[in-house]
């Protein structure tokens, strides 16, 4: 096509036929995005089958007007809708057809108006619209189309470009709206499907035939980083999810709104769409028989499809496992402070046991954490010299294989965790982590709880004291001054990275200042100041 003032019915049909082929290329990838608790079978496949049904009908449309093609697409989609996202997609086409009613062809602004109508109708079909799904994507795409058409250009291709651009951003943003997506580190599958359809249509409009043929749709990466927690997700495997139940009722004087209200009491993820002669139902229920008996008096049932969601979920987990590095080793770390917990989880720790100096966890606490992870092999990072022995006890209480990497400080624990290799076996990992932990120097600054004399130093109660790798080496009134004194004992010229974790009792501004001073004195160092939030220790510093 290329430049176009308006789109005819034939263009509409061809562009979505191209979009269907485009979607087909990534249907399997979209299936892989699926995430509990909205198990919808295979979203990509379902949307593809819905589109196929839609296009079959469109090719049978008697007239060539945009209006009648859109209506045929809508009808085909309703009859062929599969799964949650397929049903919502059918509502999008229904809205689009309403928006294009009576139109022989349409311009950019008319397309934008029809997309807005599509968004409205899609929301209406659901009893409980959830944001961060295909709904958000159609809404944001439609409003971008509208803004573009009224402020920039009425050109149909450029409106479609704006629509696709907004859809892409919207998809990338879905994990920040829907926590389950964030947890799984994926974007919404239905949203990705819709984006792919719109993108395929745009390629057609721009005449990019080669691209349609040779390239594959790109899967949008989540704009929110994935915190890998695969083992916990697998742990949720036991919960029963029931049956994903789909069917069409044909009859007379059907009332979709009333039926939706009735069905809401009988299941979850209820979608009821259609008109007074045909209604499509999608519902998650523990008892599909109950639903069937309830609707059978209303008319005849067609396209009945009941799928066991537990099986779907298992398939999904299997797929997830393939997508992530195969981690059969879990890491349990003992950490105090929110900031430090974030550091450990962001680097791949599977479970955190709260504890540290003066809050030593019991063997039972550690055992519980070990039991809570699915992996049969567990590495424990005690991160404190008083916890190493406790950690060593865990092996005698569990059938799992336990390795303790005896990190005695937080910096040692971080260094060990960073050395974890997704490819390596337990033995190699233990060796690598032990080696890595020994390569860092740890500095800890805290306040004395009583007056004493130690290591040749007179210490008064509440004075700041500084430890270097566990040895008391400095004392003073101010924590930052003591930290500088300890740092002076380390050969910083041969160091590369200094990380300063400041504790709950330390003002962030003071910590930043410490960082600035070190940077000035040693410009070759990479200095990072991180809020650790740990109790008791004003500063924990690692020198690598």
């Amino acid at each position: 096509m290329g430049q176009a003032d308006s789109i005819t019915g034939q263009d509409l049909r061809e562009m979505f036929a191209a979009a269907t082929d485009w979607l087909e290329k990534s249907a399997a990838d979209i299936d892989a995005l699926n995430v509990f608790p909205v198990p919808d079978g295979d979203t990509g496949t379902n949307m593809l089958l819905t589109m196929r049904s839609s296009m079959e009908e469109a090719y049978q449309a008697s007239e060539g007007s945009a209006s009648s093609v859109a209506q045929a697409m809508s009808r085909g989609a309703l009859m062929g809708a599969r799964g949650n996202s397929g049903v919502i997609l059918s509502q999008i086409w229904k809205g689009l057809a309403q928006g294009l009613a009576q139109k022989e062809s349409f311009t950019g602004s008319e397309l934008a108006a029809a997309l807005l109508q599509a968004s409205t109708v899609a929301y209406k079909g659901l009893s409980n619209p959830v944001e961060g799904t295909i709904l958000t994507v159609i809404r944001e795409a439609a409003s971008a189309a509208q803004a573009h058409a009224s402020n920039v250009s009425d050109d149909v291709v450029s409106v479609m470009e704006a629509t696709v651009g907004a859809a892409k951003e919207s998809v990338a943003n879905t994990p920040s709206l829907l926590p389950v997506l964030m947890e799984a580190g994926v974007v919404d599958a239905g949203g990705q499907g819709l984006y792919t359809i719109l993108e395929g249509a745009l390629h057609y409009l721009k005449g990019e035939v080669e691209q349609l043929k040779l390239r594959r749709p790109w899967m949008i990466a989540s704009s929110v980083p994935l915190i890998a927690k695969v083992p916990q997700m697998v742990g949720a495997e036991e919960v029963p999810y029931g049956y994903c139940t789909n069917f069409v009722i044909k009859g007379q004087r059907l009332n979709p709104d009333k039926l939706r209200k009735r069905l809401e009491k009988r299941g979850q993820s209820v979608i009821v769409v259609g008109d007074n002669s045909a209604v499509r139902v999608h519902i998650h229920t523990l008892d599909p028989g109950d639903i069937m008996s309830y609707v059978i008096p209303l008319g005849t049932l067609h396209q009945i499809n009941i799928r066991n969601m537990d099986e779907q979920y298992r398939d999904f987990l299997e797929m997830r496992r393939e997508r992530m590095p195969a981690v059969d080793i879990a890491i349990v770390a003992v950490v105090a402070g929110e900031g430090l917990s974030n550091v450990f989880t962001s680097l791949g720790a599977t479970a955190i046991v709260h504890g540290g100096q003066t809050m030593n966890p019991s063997t039972k606490d550690l055992l519980q954490a070990v039991d809570s992870v699915v992996s049969e092999k567990v590495i424990i990072l005690p991160n404190n010299k008083n916890i190493v022995l406790t950690a060593n006890q865990v092996q005698s209480l569990t059938t799992k294989t336990i390795e303790v990497v005896p990190a005695k400080t937080i910096p040692q624990g971080v260094a060990a965790l960073l050395a974890f290799d997704y490819e390596a076996d337990l033995e190699t990992n233990t060796q690598n982590m032990n080696r890595a932990k020994s390569a860092v120097k740890s500095i800890e600054i805290t306040r004395a709880i009583r007056s004493t004399r130690l290591g040749g130093l007179d210490i008064k109660k509440k004075q700041a004291i500084g430890f270097l790798d566990g040895d008391l080496v400095a004392v003073g009134d101010k924590t930052d001054a003591v930290l500088n004194e300890v740092l002076a004992r380390v050969d910083l010229d041969s160091a590369e990275v200094i990380t300063i974790y400041h504790g709950a009792d330390t003002k962030p501004a003071e910590a930043e200042q410490v960082g600035v001073t070190i940077r000035q004195q040693h410009p070759q160092l990479q200095v990072e100041v991180v809020p650790g939030g740990q109790p008791h220790y004003n500063y924990i510093v690692s020198v690598e």
Binding site: N342, D421, V530
Partner: protein, 279 residues
């Protein structure tokens, strides 16, 4: 008639090496919006990465039209009756697919074998170079293809990145997703496994990450070929090559630049080592 070797530009084979060994390189370019960009022709490398860092739109990869593959096959078929095409991983681009399809469309009678290297960058490049050397020495098409398959599991590559941001933006992050979200600043070391991006290590500093590259290359017990490549940091590449010369003759270490397509996904300060050999 010697077997002709064809590959794509994701293999990062330096043009003088390609010329010397008679390797035909099919260009895979990037497109910024509507502007196509060819490395060193339309923009300098620095201009390209400046654009990458500051442009809102992410560049897209353009596999050349089928016609170009067909034309190249037809043209080579005037000189030979056996062509080996070794492409980058089918999981990274559509080149393999296009190379296969083009085979059906060529007019001249000529045997064409297409091999999916399952690699990119100089890991792919070294497989192709080894194939070209064999072809030069008189190997038949079957022998060249067998050698390529033999070498696919013998090659490996590691690359140090400054950030995972570009991989994420480009949607090709693969299993390196596990490295996202680190609270601490880390230098990720990535490679490819089964044709996909794979996370190997995280180092706290770039210097340590470069040590990792050295140790990776040094861990091979036998080395057939080696390559060091970079995008915008020639000095680091020089230094690393110098260090590696204790393991492998410096004059035999190929020096190359990461193609813009890969560069767009890994970011400007990428530095990598590829080795063909035995571990």
């Amino acid at each position: 008639m010697a077997v002709k070797i064809v590959t794509d530009s994701l293999g990062d084979i330096p043009s003088e090496v390609a010329g010397e060994l008679g390797i035909t390189v099919i260009p895979i370019n990037v497109l910024f919006g509507t502007e196509s960009y060819r490395d060193g022709v339309d923009l300098t490398t620095d201009q390209f990465y400046h654009k990458l860092m500051h442009s809102k739109t992410f560049p897209t990869t353009i596999v050349p039209p089928l016609d170009m593959f067909v034309d190249i096959y037809n043209k080579l078929a005037e000189e030979t009756d056996e062509i080996a095409v070794i492409t980058n991983s089918h999981k990274l681009s559509a080149a393999y697919e296009a190379a296969l399809q083009a085979k059906e469309l060529m007019k001249r009678k000529c045997r064409v074998e297409v091999v999916d290297s399952l690699w990119a960058v100089m890991a792919q490049g070294l497989i192709v170079i080894a194939a070209a050397k064999a072809a030069d020495a008189g190997a038949s098409l079957d022998e060249v293809v067998a050698l390529a398959h033999f070498n696919i599991p013998r090659v490996d590559v590691r690359m140090v990145l400054d950030t995972l941001e570009y991989l994420k933006r480009g949607g090709r992050i693969g299993k390196a997703q596990a490295f996202l979200g680190s609270v601490l600043k880390v230098s990720p070391v990535l490679g490819l496994r089964d044709g996909e991006v794979f996370p190997f290590a995280r180092e706290r500093s770039r210097a340590k990450a470069i040590d990792y590259l050295y140790n990776f290359a040094a861990s091979f017990s036998h080395i057939d070929e080696m390559a060091v490549e970079h995008a915008t940091t020639p000095d680091e590449a020089d230094e690393l090559t110098e260090r590696l010369s204790s393991k492998f003759p410096k004059e035999r270490i190929y020096r190359s630049k990461v193609s813009p397509v890969i560069g767009a996904h890994v970011g400007p300060r990428v530095l990598g080592v590829a080795v063909l050999g035995d571990k």
